[in-house]
């Protein structure tokens, strides 16, 4: 993870001047087994904006509402109040197919009942553009090849998905999302089962893709230092409340992080101006 202050500064400038693409406006939600019962979980009104080329990380302990917020952004859930606007359209109101052309979701893990090869898996990303039976066109193949190349997974093209490593599989899953040619890329704990090298590779790839393809990337994760290093904005959540939105340097306040994560932490600024978090022992 090398420090590249000039690149980071340029990136921040680009992000600031780009148009607002995603606007989360006072979005709230409540889970209840049935309408007559009190909700088991409530997400309080949350707002933030994201621009093209920007990476926004949603951080918080377990059950803080991160994944619910991601589902609301994806349009899979209808907000109780407020709205999520993507390029002027409410994501929940978009037809399923149109939504899949604009929003790609990378889940924690993709379960396969029957094995498929990596290229077959990536071609699934072209489904939103297909007609009924969807026999793939030359354009689909070119997009899929390009998507695999963009995440450095071309050599894996003919491999079976159940015979590649977790890191390789995550790259192929990301390639499928890229094949959707979305505006918005959503990732739900994509680093969960990856070793530290694969985690850095994935975040590097996201950084590069956000800059090159002008994606807006929203990533839910627990990795404080990766977020500090690669995100442009952080949305900090706790027990269904959005506590703060801002740059990593602005959000990573020691007292705030200690209160949210219930641990003794230290926060330092690295040579590139990015915050780094360390866990302190009980004795300090």
């Amino acid at each position: 993870m090398s420090a590249r202050p000039s690149t980071l500064a340029a990136r921040a400038d680009v992000a600031r001047t780009a148009e607002v693409r995603l606007s989360v406006e006072q979005v709230s939600y409540a889970y209840a087994p049935n309408p007559s019962q009190a909700p088991l979980f409530t997400l309080e009104a949350t707002s933030f904006q994201a621009r093209a080329g920007e990476i926004v990380a949603v951080l918080g302990p377990n059950a803080s509402g991160k994944s619910t917020l991601l589902k609301l952004i994806s349009g899979a859930l209808q907000p109780l109040s407020g709205r999520v606007m993507l390029d002027g359209f409410a994501t929940h109101s978009l037809p399923t197919r149109t939504r899949a052309q604009r929003i790609a979701m990378v889940q924690q893990e993709s379960q396969l009942v029957f094995p498929s090869r990596a290229w077959e898996f990536v071609l699934q990303g072209r489904h939103p553009y297909s007609r009924t039976l969807h026999f793939e066109s030359e354009t689909d193949l070119a997009v899929a090849r390009n998507a695999l190349a963009q995440v450095g997974a071309e050599p894996l093209m003919d491999r079976w998905m159940n015979q590649i490593s977790g890191g390789e599989r995550q790259r192929v899953i990301l390639a499928r999302a890229l094949a959707q040619q979305p505006l918005l890329l959503l990732l739900d704990e994509p680093t969960l089962h990856l070793d530290i090298g694969a985690q850095v590779d994935l975040l590097e790839a996201l950084r590069r893709l956000a800059a090159e393809n002008r994606y807006t990337v929203i990533v839910v994760t627990h990795e404080l230092n990766l977020v500090g290093e690669y995100a442009d904005q952080v949305v900090l959540m706790q027990r269904g409340r959005c506590l703060r939105v801002g740059t990593p340097a602005a959000v990573y306040q020691r007292e705030l992080l200690e209160q949210v994560f219930q641990a003794q932490l230290s926060v330092e600024l690295g040579a590139n101006g990015r915050p780094r978090v360390s866990l302190l022992s009980q004795g300090g």
Binding site: Q111, L133, F135
Partner: protein
């Protein structure tokens, strides 16, 4: 990267169509009246072209009025069960799903019996009355798959093990219910019950029922085929499919109704022929891959071939007596089910 093309689907289907034709000719040959394969092949084509004047009446009666309708019924029963099995495996994300194992065939059987019992009490035109049993079987299959689906759900998602267990229990309960109805209300003997429960193609069908089975197969299989690329994505789960642009609710509705119709039609004319919906889709996946755009049509041909072969064995192996066709398919299918289960657990 070798994506699936229309040409590849058509050539594989053509190959299987040739195999099916040969199997039908061999099945026509086997039996009490000896005929040469060459003569049979020639005469089958003559019958297909409606040039039957050159055939002797006895020969035509045995080969083309008795054996051929039974074999054709077997092809549609086999094709229906195999397409239904492939569809249920995708929708339920379970490689062990099969209309028989999940109790859907037995549900169709109970529905068919209920229709048979109700039919005399409802004033219907003769032509419509004949369709009452297939309709009852379809309703029975649909109600059973809905019940099994909800039995198999845990925390809002389908759980493979709970689903299988729920299906097996449902099958056992409905099988007992059929046996009870057969032996009490309907007054049939145990021999007839066993043939119904194990699947049997020996009962002659009214022409209108045969036509409904054929038309129903083409309509339901075509409806399922329009969702073939959606089924590929549903294998990854409903949420993932939705994020890839699949209208999960519409596809599920179309496929559950169409696959229940296929099961109901097959059961209404043959009883519960087991394991065809399990064995054949797996064999076709092994041969041609798991893409549903090629799996659905090849499973239809494979199912037809499998049931015609099984029925030919059933009616010749202990001649002049007969075995239920389901006994032959279960002899092969049950060990294969155990093999798949062991592999999945491993």
């Amino acid at each position: 990267m070798r994506p699936l093309t229309v040409g590849r689907v058509l050539t594989r289907c053509a190959l299987l169509a040739v195999v099916l034709f040969l199997v039908i000719v061999i099945a026509l040959k086997l039996g009490a009246v000896p005929v040469s394969l060459y003569a049979l092949g020639r005469d089958v084509i003559r019958v297909a072209l409606h040039q039957t004047s050159e055939l002797s009446s006895d020969y035509r009666l045995i080969i083309f009025d008795i054996r051929l309708p039974r074999i054709l019924l077997g092809t549609f029963v086999g094709a229906s069960l195999a397409v239904a099995g492939a569809s249920f495996q995708a929708l339920l994300r379970n490689p062990l799903a099969d209309p028989y194992i999940l109790g859907i065939s037995n549900g169709a059987g109970v529905g068919a019996m209920a229709a048979l019992l109700l039919e005399p009490h409802i004033p219907l035109a003769a032509g419509i009355a004949a369709l009452f049993t297939p309709l009852g079987a379809f309703a029975g299959a649909l109600v059973t798959i809905i019940a099994v689906y909800f039995l198999g759900r845990r925390k809002g998602e389908i759980d493979s093990n709970t689903l299988l267990l729920g299906g097996v229990i449902t099958a056992s309960f409905l099988s007992a219910l059929q046996m009870f109805l057969f032996n009490t209300v309907m007054g049939r003997d145990l021999h007839g019950t066993a043939f119904w429960l194990m699947g049997d193609l020996s009962t002659a069908q009214q022409p209108i029922v045969s036509w409904v089975v054929r038309f129903g197969f083409f309509a339901a299989a075509a409806a399922i085929y329009t969702t073939a690329s959606d089924l590929n994505l549903l294998l990854a789960g409903e949420k993932e499919a939705m994020h890839l642009g699949v209208d999960v609710r519409r596809v599920s509705l179309v496929v559950y109704v169409a696959a229940s119709l296929l099961t109901g039609l097959a059961v209404s004319v043959s009883g519960a022929v087991g394991y065809v919906g399990l064995l054949v889709p797996h064999a076709m996946r092994w041969l041609f891959g798991s893409d549903h755009r090629i799996l659905i049509p090849t499973a239809a041909f494979g199912g037809a071939i499998a049931v015609v072969v099984a029925d030919t064995i059933a009616r010749t192996v202990v001649a002049p007596a007969e075995l239920p066709v389901g006994a032959i398919s279960a002899l092969v299918g049950a060990p294969f089910f155990i093999y798949l289960l062991r592999r999945r657990l491993a």
